[in-house]
Subunit: 390 residues, 2 copies
């Protein structure tokens, strides 16, 4: 039986993702928040919003931390309490969790949750180095490991254990770029043919350029409130009916199995139980496709298919729009882009659009239940939320 | 009338603060958590703790972010959900707030909140630069401003408006070093005579070396639970009876008045109202003495004395042990040390010791009500909590 709403999303906003030159992260956050405020004319942001949780991964990008008050300063919400949450690439999914706690605590009836990252003004080597801070320093970074290398180990383990192929991974890229081609806010709005993906240059074998998500700038946010207040602000609230979060070892070197990201799996289980739904009930999902292999692993960890069957799941078209569970309809991290701190709430933004039938060309007809799956680091943080329309 | 408990502290731990060579931050966190677990034999940490919030300011220090799962990994608490909160020097006070939300939400009956920072392995210039990320980049850092300069402007404004003197500021150092000399976990456990403080070299006039807090390594944590569960774990819980948090502009350049830190003031007002107590009810307080002037401003912002009278308050001995409100009995950031992410929960640790009569030589007799005041950046974040013994 479908669970009752925990909290309701009454508005959402997202900046255009991409290479956003001559803008600070705070300005991108203004873009996201302005959309959320505009969508919700009954909200008086400065009066109504009682707490804000903003995910950001790295202060090195802009030599700027203290993101909570900085963002609130620029969107005119001072002196509202503001928090930065950091959970690597899952930073803004942890912000959603904190917003959920704050609302359920009774201390804040309305909360803004969001995320931001400004990355493209940095050289690729710098970006790779800053992102690597989300994995273990003494045992992994120190030895030269960065995320492409770490996820390449996940890919080779998956290939070895289950026979997953480079072509299956490339098909994830093809699908997500196809979806992204229909998203006017996506970083890369163009199709990538299978041949092109497969023949792109190797980054960390078996991962090639088109197996990797994009380095992007962007921001996103949601307005959350108690379900009983939702109708005051919108006729079409989207409810969070299940939510889970778990942690895993910071280093890959401590894990027995590289073919599953346990924190995401546990978070999923918790969210499904709370929501009272099964994987087969999910119509749309945004999963953490930081590398194509990560999406295949996500299918399995979330029970979209059995372990080892992720390669077949994409091959059979089950995860495309029109398939069994339309996955990464936004284009995902792969095509929409991956401004890391913004990703968690951007996933929720897409599900919000799908469940309120505002997803334009990429609309999944009759979508009723959605899911987001956001992981941080090499899955040391995993957050899953399940959403339902009214 | 004294408010009812929001949440209860049933245990607490703190590493020794100081120059902790050849240790990673995660190892310091183990030191803090081990003390907290040892103090609370009825707690089964891995089973009982349902969420953890860890404050840390800067991933640059150890080239290591993703502090939540990293810390939990090392204290054996996986796969418990873990969050890093960042609010600059107020990072772990915001972790306390998140813990409070989580417990009151009903989704986590027991939470670990804490903080950590490893700083002393870096050159002072690097530390100053990393800390500066907590103030505005485009308008302040870019022009060469760092925190000593920012707080020097607060000091000169206070001198100009109220006639506060360099000697009064130095007296804060003298008091806090005296208190710290009785704290076996303090970074500097020695007296500093007034003459020495006044004649120390100028860092950013009027602030001299002994007006500045210390660059330290350290970690601290608390175990929080619902008041109705507290007695299961300890006979001497300490209750949080009031809590407040507010934000202010990230830059000083947008403020009309430099002599007060508004976010701390608003947070204090919220906490007093919730707790149903007045400043005169406070027996012990840990305030944010990152620079001596900040403690003087805190007296005024928290209503310990009237605006402009902070200099007199220290001069008259009102804030020393034995005075009206024993302030920074731990030695404060000034003498105990300031591993920034650890400071908020370390302040709460000291109040916990005072209210459970475990503060040794620096015990304030009959302390019943305590307060912590932690600010981040130049007060862009302010958090105040009020505590009561049973």
């Amino acid at each position: 039986m479908k669970g009752k709403p925990l909290v309701s999303i009454v508005s959402a906003g997202m900046s255009r993702f991409g290479k956003r030159e001559e803008l600070y992260g705070r300005e991108l956050f203004v873009e996201a928040a302005s959309e959320a405020f505009k969508r919700c004319p009954n909200l008086n942001p400065r009066e109504d919003i009682k707490a804000a949780f903003i995910g950001m991964m790295g202060e090195s990008f802009e030599h700027q931390g203290h993101t909570g008050p900085t963002a609130l300063n620029w969107i005119g919400l001072l002196p509202t309490q503001a928090f930065r949450t950091e959970g690597a690439c899952g930073s803004s999914a942890t912000a959603i969790r904190c917003g959920l706690f704050a609302i359920l605590s009774g201390l804040a009836d309305i909360a803004l949750v969001g995320g931001v990252e400004k990355m493209t003004h940095r050289a690729t080597a710098e970006v790779t180095e800053y992102l690597a801070m989300a994995c273990d320093f003494p045992f992994e970074q120190w030895n030269g490991l960065t995320f492409p290398g770490l996820f390449a180990m996940v890919a080779t383990a998956h290939m070895h254990k289950y026979g997953t192929t480079e072509e299956q991974m490339a098909l994830v890229a093809v699908k997500n770029h196809h979806h992204g081609s229909m998203n006017p806010k996506a970083h890369m709005q163009k199709e990538v043919p299978l041949e092109k993906a497969l023949s792109s240059r190797v980054i960390a074998w078996p991962l090639k350029l088109y197996d990797c998500s994009l380095i992007s700038d962007g921001a996103s946010c949601l307005i959350l409130t108690k379900p009983e207040l939702a109708k005051k602000f919108t006729d079409t609230p989207v409810h969070i009916i299940g939510s889970g979060q778990a942690s895993d070892t910071i280093g890959l070197y401590e894990r027995k199995d590289f073919t599953s990201l346990k924190a995401g799996k546990l978070a999923g289980r918790e969210a499904y139980n709370m929501a009272g739904v099964n994987p087969s009930d999910i119509n749309v999902a945004e999963v953490h496709d930081c590398f194509t292999i990560a999406e295949i692993v996500a299918y399995e960890d979330l029970g979209f298919c059995r372990p080892g069957k992720g390669g077949r799941f994409i091959e059979d078209g089950q995860s495309q729009i029109g398939g069994k569970i339309a996955t990464c309809t936004s284009g995902g991290l792969k095509s929409k882009g991956h401004p890391v701190g913004a990703t968690g709430t951007a996933q929720a933004y897409e599900v919000y659009l799908q469940l309120t039938e505002e997803a334009g060309k990429r609309q999944v007809g009759g979508a009723e239940i959605g899911l987001t799956h956001n992981v941080g680091g090499l899955g040391a943080t995993g957050v899953v939320n399940i959403y339902s329309r009214e």
